[in-house]
Symmetry: C2
Subunit: 232 residues, 2 copies
């Protein structure tokens, strides 16, 4: 091998390869003495992509190089979709679900049942429930769960507007669909007490998931499944 | 459960759940009779994100909802980085690596060795080699490998400009660093014959990867390792 071009191992600093390679992998713009690895606009794109959840340096590089190969229009469409969604998507004034209109599509829909409200903590719960196509009522997005450790009390959630909605005479049932974590249970119990004076309050069932194996279910889930048993 | 709001199973159409749920998952904008699942700007963002490699509907939804929660400036930076990289990053006129300048950082660097050229098929090979910090020469990016099945002959690659570079008197060595696929081997052999009249031509070593286990190496790799043995 040409000695002019290839560093012999003896000239390498005495650090392990892992430590030695890490800086260039983590900070693509960093100067290396022999020029930058990525040309600056590419380095900035990789840096920005790395901010996305579960996108590391390797995935960011792969996405960036993929996008450089695509037609201009495709990259412009993605950039425009980003700006457009960020600018236009806000919260529905009634249910606090994501919406580009002041009142969301679900709240405005004439064929949906006004008398039932399903309370969830997050907009992605609305999306998950809508995908089942089982529910024809309306929603209410709390924006989180009661969590004193994180400084989130009832005032930080959309509980006042919920109370206002539930106090309307047409409401026949409120379904609480909040994940059964410690904070979720607290929120469910709190809302149950708060709303029971106004209407019937139910909560979704917890038990074995479909296709689940009784033998391998954890004890809390099994206890919940027994407790929630129904007559055939 | 309130009969008003929840469809009983008897009213569901007679198709399996998998088929029944698929449309709303794949085409988020599709009307469902009870309103759209995603508000239109969000649906368009999810559609655009799904075009990225190995990003499916679930990941696209997760990325989109993550971005909606981030500050405006962060989303604007990402959109700007996309447009900027697409607009400014082209090819180096000398080596055809990705570059925002007419001649790339590596080709312009005064401390790099002009007498050695490492030939690779793709810009990401340059990035991988640069990360080793072992090579101080220059590169040449072919833009692919010879593949008659895909209609890629020597004319479709940057072989003419390579020939011009290699014919310069300062060139002492050309290192061929092309992945050992069938097409890669063809390209290596073709370039070897073409360039040997001008200068010394070498190729990178193939053999056991570091940390690899001899017992589990495939036969071709082992044969290559034997063939490429060196005196201690």
């Amino acid at each position: 091998m040409g000695k002019v071009a290839v560093n012999s191992p003896a000239h390498r600093p005495l650090v392990s390869t892992a430590v030695y390679l890490a800086p260039s992998v983590k900070f693509p713009l960093q100067k290396r003495g022999l020029g930058t690895i990525y040309t600056p606009p590419l380095a900035r794109l990789i840096e920005q992509l790395q901010r996305l959840p579960s996108v590391g340096p390797k995935t960011a590089q792969r996405l960036a190089l993929h996008l450089l190969k695509r037609p201009d229009a495709e990259v412009e469409n993605l950039a425009q979709a980003l700006l457009d969604a960020k600018k236009r998507v806000g919260q529905c004034q009634v249910c606090f679900h994501l919406s580009a209109e002041p009142v969301c599509d679900i709240c405005r829909h004439p064929q949906r049942d006004n008398s039932v409200i399903c309370v969830v903590s997050d907009p992605r719960d609305v999306i998950a429930l809508e995908k089942t196509r089982e529910f024809r009522g309306k929603y209410h997005v709390l924006g989180g769960v009661i969590s004193p450790m994180d400084g989130i009390g009832p005032e930080q959630l959309t509980i006042q507007p919920l109370l206002h909605r539930v106090s309307q005479p047409e409401i026949k049932e409120v379904i609480l669909a909040i994940s059964p974590s410690v904070e979720g249970e607290t929120t469910t119990l709190y809302l149950g007490k708060l709303l029971q004076p106004f209407t019937k309050v139910t909560r979704i069932a917890f038990g074995l998931p479909m296709g689940g194996d009784l033998e391998y279910a954890d004890e809390v889930t099994l206890a919940r499944a027994l407790e929630g048993r129904r007559e055939l």
